[in-house]
């Protein structure tokens, strides 16, 4: 039959096509991606250009942590600020500091790291003309208002508080007393920059040069950044592997798939949907450790309804109506820990973390919650609408769970609903324009492991991240006092007292501390996350 031959011909073509498909790319599967001790790790496309003072998110930050070293570095285990390039930072009045550098440090292009490398970098970072998103990190240095005015053009190109004494020494004058200021200097924005950065900015951005344990080998923006160990590195924390390949993933689920298939060595963000399987897939190659991140519910104090003395009771009541333990167990699979203060466990007791500081107000107690809310005059407007951004993260799930918990406690299934906002950008712009009408999700990832960083930027009057515009004279006074203390232990105690004010007013409801979660292949070992939930790349060993 003639027809039959044609059917065969067509079927044959399909078989060939399918076979070709199956063969394609088959050869290179399996095994790790790199030889010679190269660790491959998942990465997200950094949002901003890779400049120290312009990087404010984790993805860019982890690169800077490999490429750059500043005056101090936070210990990957304890979070303590330790001298790196700084030999010593002296002060007698908590306001004037003299920084002395260690000898022998160079950038990977051979240029020496001098006090000018720091002063130039800081002046660049603070200057309004350069649009650096972390410029406010320099706001404690004298002369910041000249180089970064609230409006108009800068009157000066340098910070008057910075003075180069010689190659190894410079002085810093702050515009207020700030005893723990030297401990903030581990933040990447304070890294020194070589002349190449200023001379040929574009080529520096395409291949950054730093003084850290790694150098950039190749950088394809948006897809891959290869770093190799730099033999000339001066610091004590030399790299224990041959290099790191950071690969951009479109989705962290895809990265997880690649890890389980053996194509990737390390992911530093286990997708929420995989948390159920991660133990079975990775066993003890799954890390789940506390990070310096706390999630809270913030309130719009510019809305008169929330800014009444009675509203304090309502806020406490809402806090008591949230079953934190149940939500962190079921929705977050224990990758969050119920919060009992407004800081983070990574600070340690000496650093200012105080478990249980929140007391009863953070303990689930539906009966008391209902009583307090009724005493306080009920929820302003009759309904609680918790705003969150719906585009990233799985915020909808926990907001719904929180609302559910509140509704159950109040015996009213309309007492609380979620208020999704389309994009993160829109969410942020509504917050910065003070357009929130009810509580909204707030998260804080610490810049440096200090109790100051968990309190002052968030609750001090007019502070940069005081999104709810909360203000309290007593709190402000205690913070000022803590900053002026020259003794660190005394400063921490004063900050804790200030935190007590936050508690008594329930300025924001603490929800839970976030953990960092990571997973790695059996090719690598000695993997850990630092208090910022970033892998300690230089310590990873390849077997």
């Amino acid at each position: 039959m003639r027809g039959a031959t044609h059917a065969k011909w067509a079927a044959g073509a399909i078989v060939i096509a399918l076979a070709a498909t199956a063969c394609g790319g088959g050869g290179s599967s399996g095994g790790g991606s790199g030889a010679d001790g190269i660790v491959s790790s998942s990465w997200g496309d950094p949002q901003n250009p890779l400049e120290p003072a312009n990087t404010n998110e984790v993805q860019g930050g982890k690169v800077l942590d490999m490429l750059m070293r500043g005056l101090k570095r936070y210990d990957p285990k304890t979070g303590e600020a330790q001298n790196m390039i700084a030999d010593k930072i002296d002060t007698s009045d908590s306001q004037n500091f003299t920084v002395t550098l260690k000898d022998g440090w160079t950038f990977s292009n051979g240029e020496k790291v001098t006090s000018k490398s720091f002063v130039d970098a800081w002046n660049y970072g603070a200057n309004l003309k350069n649009n650096q998103k972390n410029a406010s990190m320099f706001s404690y240095i004298d002369g910041y208002d000249k180089i970064h005015p609230k409006s108009g053009t800068p009157a000066s190109d340098t910070l008057s508080g910075l003075k180069v004494v010689d190659d190894k020494t410079f002085t810093v004058k702050l515009n207020q007393k700030f005893s723990t200021w030297p401990d903030t200097l581990g933040y990447p924005a304070f890294a020194p920059l070589p002349r190449a950065f200023f001379d040929d900015h574009a080529s520096w951005l395409s291949k950054p040069i730093g003084d850290g344990p790694y150098t950039v080998d190749s950088y394809t923006k948006g897809s891959k950044l290869s770093m190799r160990t730099w033999a000339g590195y001066m610091g004590p924390d030399k790299a224990q592997n041959g290099g790191i390949d950071l690969k951009v993933y479109t989705d962290n689920n895809t990265a997880y798939t690649d890890l389980t298939a053996g194509n990737l060595d390390l992911i530093d963000d286990v997708p929420a949907s995989q948390l159920k399987n991660v133990k079975a897939d990775l066993g003890d190659r799954y890390i789940n450790t506390p990070a310096g991140i706390i999630q809270t519910l913030a309130f719009p104090y510019y809305d008169a309804a929330w800014n009444t003395p009675d509203a304090v009771k309502v806020r406490k009541g809402i806090s008591m109506a949230i079953n934190r333990q149940q939500i962190t167990d079921t929705i977050f699979q224990k990758t969050r820990t119920p919060a009992t203060d407004w800081t983070s466990p990574v600070l340690g007791a000496a650093g200012g973390y105080k478990a249980g500081l929140c007391g009863d107000a953070c303990t689930y107690n539906p009966a008391e919650a209902k009583k307090l809310i009724t005493e306080g005059g009920g929820i302003p407007g009759g309904q609680l609408k918790i705003a969150y951004n719906a585009d990233t993260g799985s915020h909808k799930e926990w907001v719904d769970a929180v609302c559910n918990s509140i509704n159950n406690a109040l015996g009213n299934d309309k007492a609380c609903v979620g208020g999704p906002v389309g994009t993160y950008a829109d969410f942020r712009s509504q917050i910065t324009q003070s357009k929130m009408s009810g509580p909204f999700r707030a998260g804080w990832q610490m810049d440096y492991p200090l109790i100051q960083n968990f309190l002052q930027p968030l609750y001090y009057t007019g502070a940069s991240s005081n999104d709810g515009k909360w203000t309290n004279a007593e709190f402000d006074k205690l913070v000022d006092q803590a900053n002026a203390d020259t003794d660190k232990a005394k400063a921490v105690a004063d900050f804790q007292q200030a935190e007590g004010v936050v508690r008594d007013q329930m300025a924001a409801i603490p929800l839970w501390y976030q953990n960092g979660s990571a997973g790695y292949s059996d090719r690598v070992s000695n993997v850990a996350l630092n208090p910022f939930s970033v892998p300690v790349y230089n310590e990873i060993k390849v077997s």
């Binding site: 790319g25 649009n131 479109t250 999104d467």
Partner: protein
Amino acid sequence: MGRYVIRRLLQMIPVFFGATLLIFLMVNVMGDPIAGLCGDKACDPATAAQLKKEFGLDKPVWQQYLTYMGNVFTGDFGTAFNGQKVTELMSAAFPVTIRLTIVAIVFEVVIGISLGVVTGLRRGRPVDTVVLMLTLIVIAIPVFVTGLLLQLLLGVEWGVIRPTVSPEAPFNELLIPGLVLASVSLAYVTRLTRTSIAENRRADYVRTAIAKGLPRRRVITRHLLRNSLIPVVTFIGTDVGALMGGAIVTERIFNIHGVGYQLYQGILRQSTQTVVGFVTVLVLVFLIANLIVDLLYAVLDPRIRYA
């Protein structure tokens, strides 16, 4: 014919402007993009104002649109928020997506049309029924299910392919993603070809051709298939644009850094320049693909003439 082409090209101008304006307005109503750039902190107002000025966001929308379109005609698509030129993003993303689209189209043409011819010629037979059922299943299952399933089975369980595509995205790594991307359209192509072939099989010219004693292969390829392909070509033509723009899901699953990924990032970060730039090019691709489809009609069926 020449006049027809010119008229079609002129028609493209209002479509082009309309589509870009709509996208421009849509991206702009989503709120202030600068606010999302500073993470969980508020941007300090001076820096925010400075950034807005740099990206031209401080001007009214109509003025932004005019400046933007003015720049586009000089080949300047602006700068994305991460400091990269949008043209740079395009030159990285489009080749990858074009390769993926080619793979998908080839699958559609080869598998889709072959299956369509086979089933169209033997309507009602077991082969026909089986293929019809299969296409129905493919159409019914969402692309991300097919994609994730194939990735899990072929990539992780059996290790036949790499579960993700490397940044260079060569053709051989794009075969499975291309098949996934093509799957639904492929099913439609099969069904369209089948119906069209089955209908034309009884047409007078086919009967004439058979009566003339032409070999069966010649009857099918020259006479039957050529006429039956018109609706199929229309479908595939419009599908080119749809595949390029609609690859977001497939690209996410297989970690392909193409147009879909860049658009997704652009939308998340509300980067007007990225989104509008990519959509502008996609609109052009759509228009040109449609034009080519219309011109192909005349080749397939000489009775179709353009005055």
